[in-house]
Each structure stands twice: as C-alpha cells, then as structure tokens.
C-alpha cells in the first residue's frame, strides 16, 4: 500500500451526525441554560411549598388558620388602639 493511497483513503474518513442533531443540541442548551429551579414544573412546586410553609408557620404561632391569623391581626383589639390614643 502506497502512502499516497492511504492519504486518499484517510481523506474519506468523514462522518456526519443525524439530521436531528441540531435540534437535540438546542434542546440540550435549553435544558442546561435554564436553571432547573426556574423550569415551569419546579416553579409551581416551589410556590406550593412556600404557601404550605407559611401556613404551618401561622398555625404554630397562633394555633389556628383563621383569616385574622393569616393577616397577623389575631392579637389586635380595638382597646389597644384606644389606649394608644389616650396616651397621646
């Protein structure tokens, strides 16, 4: 086998990926570039988990989940406002 023949054969050692290669790469980029925690399904779970955590926190603090407790008004009474007004 001559070197010239081998060189010609080597020039033919070309390969090509499949037709949908570009689409696969772009999908891979989307997956890697968009942080996992910002992907829609994770975002929904994160919001749901935050709401549950807030509810648990309110329940532990006030012992119930009433609207007043959620709004932070369970300790509020009109007399508190009144005493504040008298002191002024």
């Amino acid at each position: 086998m001559s070197t010239h023949k081998l060189e010609n054969q080597l020039k033919d050692q070309q390969y090509t990926f499949s037709a949908n290669f570009a689409a696969e790469v772009l999908e891979g980029i989307r997956r890697e570039i968009i942080p996992i925690l910002l992907q829609p399904r994770w975002l929904f779970l994160e919001i749901a988990a935050s709401v549950v955590l807030c509810m648990v926190s309110v329940y532990l603090q006030d012992g119930n989940l009433s609207v007043e407790a959620i709004l932070g008004l369970s300790e509020y009474s009109e007399m508190t406002d009144y005493y504040g007004y008298v002191q002024l």
Partner: protein, 186 residues
C-alpha cells in the same frame, strides 16, 4: 433561511449574541460534520462521538461571549472536539479499558456492507490501534486537512513534533492495516 446561509460564521455568532438563537442552528449545521469526524476518528465509537458532539456545541454556546473572533469558528470547534475526545480517552483508560481485537476488525471487513463502508470501518479500527499522540496528528493533518502550523496550534505542540508524529503515525497505520487488519486497497 437564505439570509442565514449567506452570513459568515462571525456574523452568525454576533446575531446569536444579540439574541437570535436560530442562527446557532445554522452554525451547528455548518460545522457538525467537522466535529463528528474529529470525535469519531479519535474515539471509534458512534455513541461517544455523538455525546462529544453535543458537549462541543453546548460549550461553544456558553463561551460565545468570550469567543475572540481571531480564530476561525471551525478551528475553535476542532480544538474543543479534540480536547473533549482526549479527555474521554483518558477516562476510558481509568474506568473501562478497551482493546480492539483483530477478530472484531475481521468481522467488520467481512460484513455485507459495501466495500467502501467496510474499508472506512477498517481504517477507523486501524486509527484506534495507533497511540493517541499519533492518532490526533493523523486526524487533524490528514483527515481534517489542517496544515502543520494549524495542527501544532490546536494540539499545543511544536511544528517539528507534528511532522515527526505524522510520519510515525502514517508508517504505523500502514503496518497495522496491512499486517494486522489484512487491508487490501484496490
């Protein structure tokens, strides 16, 4: 679409940087064959070559803002492909050493596929039996068609080393193909 085809690589890179991701698809289509050839000739394994292909373009996308438009896009992609292929070969040595048996190569030669494809497979097997340092030079210089200086720059070795490795690589490949793989080129 015609607009994208008429753009140079650098123009496409700038468009991607300005938010037009569709131009990146054109860059992939233009250079995917180059990346496939480097990876396949270095690794001899289609699945690994495809994985390298994905990684090359993802890395290129991530580093677009840092890409200095001094080197050609093709040369830049070749360098990434070669580095990732060499890393894969290193990992292979550590985790899953492979050997290309002559029986396996013989089977490929006697398969029903056309002679051209069988020859291509056989030469690829011959390449895999070369040392990495010789294979990388033969791949860049003889298959990808880079000149000696470009090959030296991509591999980070002196020009003289490229020339000596090329000579040694071609001589060894001839011996492997004729003596070990019983290659007959008509």
């Amino acid at each position: 679409m015609r607009d994208k085809i008429s753009n140079t690589d650098f123009e496409l890179v700038n468009k991607v940087l300005n938010g037009d991701d569709s131009c990146f698809e054109e860059l992939i289509n233009r250079h995917q064959s180059l990346v496939a050839s480097v990876a396949m000739n270095m690794l001899g394994d289609w699945d690994e070559a495809q994985e390298i292909g994905h990684q090359v373009f993802i890395r290129f996308y991530k580093s677009l803002s840092k890409f200095k438009q001094e080197a050609k896009v093709s040369t830049y992609l070749t360098r990434i492909s070669m580095n990732l292929s060499l890393n894969t070969l290193k990992r292979r040595k550590v985790y899953a050493p492979r050997s290309y048996t002559l029986e396996h190569a013989g089977l490929a030669y006697q398969s029903d596929v056309s002679t051209d494809i069988a020859n291509k497979e056989l030469i690829n097997k011959g390449l895999q039996m070369l040392e990495e340092k010789h294979r990388s030079v033969v791949t860049l210089r003889m298959i990808q068609g880079y000149d000696t200086l470009e090959t030296a720059n991509i591999l980070g070795i002196p020009k003289g080393t490229v020339l000596s490795r090329l000579k040694r690589g071609i001589d060894k490949l001839k011996v492997i193909l004729i003596n070990d793989l019983k290659y007959e080129h008509t």
